[in-house]
């Protein structure tokens, strides 16, 4: 019966999977009975299969080892409770809807800017993830070499990013890009979960950054972690009205860590969670370094028309508490 329900819901899962959860860090969410629930796994370990399909330079065994490493990297974040289990190779492709979580290569040449993608099937009664699949687009050249290979995308980096999605994380906007013919090029970024990959041949995205770590801790943090970390909450306003979709950055000068979040409601409210206790600089900017649809569904109204600004107070994040009342006032462009 449950399988039947899940299958029936598969078609709509793709539509709801980018609804942002409203309470904190950008997480994938879904709306159930008018409530936004963040997508997360309640049944651990996450059992996954790997499609027994190789591509040039990456065998299915290498892909499986790479995926296992990526799962371990996320699970090794301090303060989180996460686990996964390789259930075996399968002939099933990663895009099949079958209540199995499957990761593997799939040839999608028409998706000429998509290296990989994660999809979910969600039980709309409970919000539980029934299935999550990841495909790596074999239309691109891949490499599993330890140091990367010129002209080939690093499967380890992209697997780490996609498995971040599989865990329920949305995209981070901690990056700077420039428009080039046919798209955007990354100048710099500070999150594996930034929506645009580094150039082919690099392995820099095999290492989680503080923003990624805060994101996974926000979703899967243990109660002990929540008691030892803190958060920042407030609003971004322009001419007295809330700014929706603003990118708010918290920088800890003592640790050098950058962690960010978004204003996710019409009143411009934001929360940046899973922060180390300490003092922070807070900065807000418009979401203009990637396509807005990389972060939010098309129906989400994002205000891009304001100037970046710093908050004029040092924000002190207490252990186990929230530094609230951070009111950032921005001016129109």
């Amino acid at each position: 019966m449950r399988r039947g329900v899940a299958a029936a819901l598969a078609a709509i899962a793709a539509c709801v999977m980018f609804a942002p959860a409203l309470d904190a860090y950008l997480k994938l969410g879904t709306t159930i009975n008018g409530r936004v629930l963040s997508l997360h796994w309640t049944q651990l370990p996450i059992r996954y299969f790997v499609t027994d399909r190789s591509v040039a330079e990456v065998t299915s065994q290498q892909l499986q080892q790479t995926i296992a490493t990526a799962f371990s990297t996320w699970a090794a974040v301090p303060g989180v409770s996460l686990s996964s289990q390789f259930a075996g190779f399968t002939q099933v492709g990663p895009l099949d809807n079958n209540n199995l979580t499957v990761l593997g290569f799939e040839n999608r040449p028409q998706l000429d800017r998509v290296l990989g993608s994660t999809s979910f099937t969600v039980d709309v009664i409970t919000g539980d993830i029934v299935e999550s699949d990841i495909f790596f687009n074999s239309a691109f050249a891949w490499s599993a070499a330890a140091g990367g290979e010129t002209g080939r995308f690093d499967i380890g980096s992209i697997a780490l990013h996609e498995i971040g999605h599989l865990h329920g994380m949305g995209h981070s906007a901690l990056g700077e890009t420039q428009l080039i013919a046919g798209g955007r090029r990354v100048i710099a970024k500070e999150a594996v979960m930034f929506p645009i990959a580094f150039a082919a041949g690099t392995v820099a995205d095999r290492t989680l950054r503080p923003d990624d770590i805060a994101g996974i801790e926000d979703i899967y943090g243990t109660s002990a972690f929540r008691q030892s970390s803190g958060s920042i909450g407030g609003h971004v306003t322009k001419n007295g009205s809330g700014v929706q979709g603003a990118h708010v950055i918290a920088f800890n000068p003592k640790t050098g860590k950058l962690v960010a979040g978004f204003t996710l409601s019409a009143d411009g409210a934001f929360t940046i969670a899973a922060l180390d206790p300490g003092f922070y600089v807070v900065r807000v900017e418009p979401l203009d370094d990637a396509d807005v649809t990389s972060f939010f569904p098309g129906s989400f109204n994002v205000d891009l028309s304001f100037q970046p600004a710093f908050y004029d107070k040092v924000v002190v994040v207490p252990r186990g508490g929230t530094a609230s009342g951070v009111e950032l006032k921005v001016v129109p462009k």
Partner: protein
Amino acid sequence: MIRACVLALLCLAWAATPAVAQRHYIPSDQPTFGTLEVDVGGVWTGGASVGTVPADLTNNPGSGSGSFVLFETQTRVGSAPAFDGALDLFLSRHLSVEGGVQISRPALTVRNAKDAESAPDVTARSSLTQYLITGSLVYQLGGGAAGRLQPFLSGGGGYLRQVLEGGGLIETGNEVHVAGGVRYWFNRSQRLGLRADARVSLQSGGVAFDHKRHTIPEGGAALAWRF
């Protein structure tokens, strides 16, 4: 009858007071072992830059190494007046050990500048309550000989405790210091006087994150009472 006894005791106590007072106020030009001195006053503490760091993004390795500076920050603990109290126990005419406490509320500022997307420069502000608990060895120049002006030198170390605004976060550190000053006694008995000193405090830890000792100049004055 009882009332009469109480009255008698009160009279005795009253009568005894001048004798006790007389014993305590016998002029004593020189401190001896066991002499105590209490100093209560104010001090001005200098500020220091405690760390300059950029908010860095990782450069695209495909186009170069190093980092992309999103913006730069310079963190500073400001100068502030402080309450200053000390208790000296004399070990000899020359030497005393001193325990002190200093309480101040300096500003904590972070200057944000050079933003990659041209956000206007802003100095973000907060405050902290700073407690400095010190122990020192004080040497009285001239051996504490009689005289109204009495110079001294001291040196020691201390524990720094900084409570950030809101009280939810505490940072700790340490310090070492050297100081020199003078006491000016209002009379030859050296019971009541003024103490003025200048101090250099080398502090590390606390909100500072540049792993350096910061040189904090201090100057203050206090009322000194020796007994």
